[in-house]
Symmetry: C3
Subunit: 317 residues, 3 copies
């Protein structure tokens, strides 16, 4: 049997995806998972395997998605949210020691980690005896979200090249859009419209890291962009960053600079799709939910299939 | 196969129980569950199904009861308490968005919800793609508790009509007794004695909504009531309501107005039963626990069977 | 079939281990568990059984270890950490009522309890309809940790008698070392070196309770001890106790009185082993981790096997 390229590997960064073929394989496995879930097949290849899910930051969607994915595959699951307030951490234990410990106490075959430190997944992978999956690390990466976002685009548009993609909102702190843009760069002739207020523009260094093959334009205003796009990727302006910086007044000014209404949606192509990593806090009005272009809730479901695929590919040859 | 009347239906209110036959069916399924649990049979009809349990208010008994019920039936369970402090909620996500999201991230086949808003279950059911079970909504409803309470009465008294039932304590804020009284009203010739201090009397509007066929009496004092009753349903005066209203002094005065002692219990009929939704904080002295009329711990167990029955009836035709 | 001596028994104290044969049996079952886990065998003798895990104190390792152990054996698991902040407890429910309730709501076949009260496990066992396992009670006992520590010594040293064991650090509040010393006293010719700062010396009453057959020496300094020992059991000076007593300055002075470096480790016998219940906060430098004598992470894994053994022996004849 040919081993999956992910077999016994950590998945900590989208940078590990270096060719389109890798992604195609993950999508094929995810597609098989989708079918099994929809038909309510009992498919438990991870029976006998153990998955530890450790969240140091609050989360409902990624946490419940990973928990459900691992359980559906038959794994023994130890899922803990609120790690930051649990014993060993509050007693001053290092992340490295906690990871090594949980590997042992649960006989884990894989560790799923969300942590506020940008380098947390790399640190964990360096000491863990088993693969680590990054479920969100600081402002740096959210590589499973990027895969599910790409999978959503593929499901709706039936292609991943020659796409007009607009990313809107907080392009400075948002980790989702950075990871997704990197993946889009693997495909041909995609073009990116980055729409953000001055204070939340994408970092210059990051812009420089994007593949030259992808055309990139920056905008302050989105009216000219909407009618052109195949994919409109909305993001929330994250109050928490402004709070930390004592700049709440600025937040209030910017939070609703881009609000998608039904009226605006109607200016978009019929084949376009509206995405959002959620939660939203006003960027997309509920009146848009029933529009056929609204894809943000369907998008969530695809995360389950992608995570099932990753868990299986990492644990089974 | 005839479909259960609950199949693919939400269960958000006792008002959905409109005829005795519905309850009889639920009890029959619960009885089968009881037997399986007692014999430790492995019975997993929900294998391949997914249950999401979301609690926005603290709870041990209802939370652990639903979790155990779903797991015993073989379902994949995502059970989260402390939802109110998790990511999307603290970031300002609406209940509706959270429900839609969890449906997707876990591919849930049913959502079990506890939430402080009286209308929460209806709101959730309106947007969820799958049935919602109300595990307690504000001060309004606790419809699975009402079923288990009724089931407890049936187990002990072998009938649900011609019963003298006394409800004692907090009849103003208590949601349990309201739901139970509504169900008792479906049966013939039951009579209700409502015993409460002036400040915690049952709301007039609610009294008016009770079926005319049920005789209802209000009392401030319970001494005359105790020797007559078949069912004594005790409740806790809920400190939290008085705290919110800045009326703690009143609470202190009332909290132990009705304290069941062994001496008082002995004035009751031998066939009577003492119930309590628990937790108790002094309303029933531990010395009563060994009395054969004490039913409050047994009562808890029946909740497991009732919830197993509901989960199966809602998910399986 | 001969019943296990633990069958349907609570395990609340190491004092229940009164002869070497009992421990030998537990280790034999643990050894079988180790093999199954390492070979990823699906072995689920507790299918149909229910385990309730209730933690009233923060913990990552013991909590995740017990959860994983019960799940691997196929049990239905209800695992709740943060019990102290959940409903019934914050409403003033007694531990006894909570235990009786959870027995009923989950139809538990065993209760696993961690609680700050020294007598908590005995209190729980007195009212529970099913066996209780003590997962840590106040400063008094941690009897499953003691078994796993002893098992670790046996794995590495291949014997449990004629051992030179040094216990270092906080011998006043540490519950782990007390439980382990009691078990070591069941075997012949062990000798104990107790190394602690003046303020954290082992309590005199406890010293008096140790079997006379075991030679016991107290030290303030460990340099002469290190070259002699077969087992070096390090512990953390627990900041939390000093905080409660308003004596943080003392803590700062003592916390790093004994710091194991690579240099010091090299003075130990090649066959010696370094243990620590973890978390560590500086008592063992990370540079020691790669030394073959470092046993503290391997030690953790053995807890999984010991807890699997206990759960099976208690629930299955």
């Amino acid at each position: 049997m040919k081993k999956s390229f992910l077999f016994q590997q950590s998945y900590v960064s989208v940078k590990q995806m270096v060719e389109v073929g890798q992604i195609t394989k993950i999508f094929a496995v995810a597609e098989a998972m989708r079918q099994r879930v929809e038909e309510r097949q009992v498919y438990e290849p991870l029976k006998g395997y153990s998955v530890a899910i450790l969240f140091y930051q609050p989360s409902t969607r990624t946490f419940s998605s990973f928990s459900a994915a691992a359980r559906r595959l038959g794994a023994y699951v130890t899922a803990i949210h609120g790690m930051q307030s649990l014993s060993s951490v509050s007693k001053g234990e290092s992340l490295e020691d906690t990871i090594r410990t949980i590997c042992q106490t649960t006989a884990a075959d894989v560790i799923v980690l969300r942590h506020p430190d940008d380098a947390s997944s790399e640190r964990a992978a360096a000491v863990a005896a088993v693969p680590v999956i990054n479920a969100g690390s600081g402002v740096a990466e959210h590589p499973t979200q990027a895969l599910l976002d790409l999978y959503a685009i593929y499901q709706h548009q039936k292609r991943l090249d020659r796409l007009q993609v607009a990313m809107v909102g907080d392009l400075l702190y948002g980790r989702t859009i950075k990871s997704l843009a990197a993946l889009l760069g693997l495909y041909k002739k995609n073009s990116l419209s980055l729409v953000a207020p001055e204070a939340l523009r994408a970092p210059t260094a990051w812009l420089g890291s994007l593949p030259k093959s992808m055309s990139v334009q920056e905008y302050d205003d989105w009216e000219g962009v909407l009618p052109e796009v195949d994919v409109l990727y909305m993001t929330r302006v994250q109050k928490e960053w402004f709070e930390q910086a004592g700049r709440l007044a600025e937040y209030e000014q910017m939070k609703h600079k881009y609000v998608l209404t039904r009226h605006l949606t109607e200016q978009m192509k019929p084949s376009a799709m509206v995405m959002h990593p959620l939660p939203r806090v006003g960027e997309i009005l509920p009146e848009v939910d029933s529009d056929p272009r609204a894809y943000y809730f369907k998008q969530m479901r695809l995360g389950l299939y992608i995570r099932m695929a990753l868990l299986e590919m990492i644990m089974k040859p």
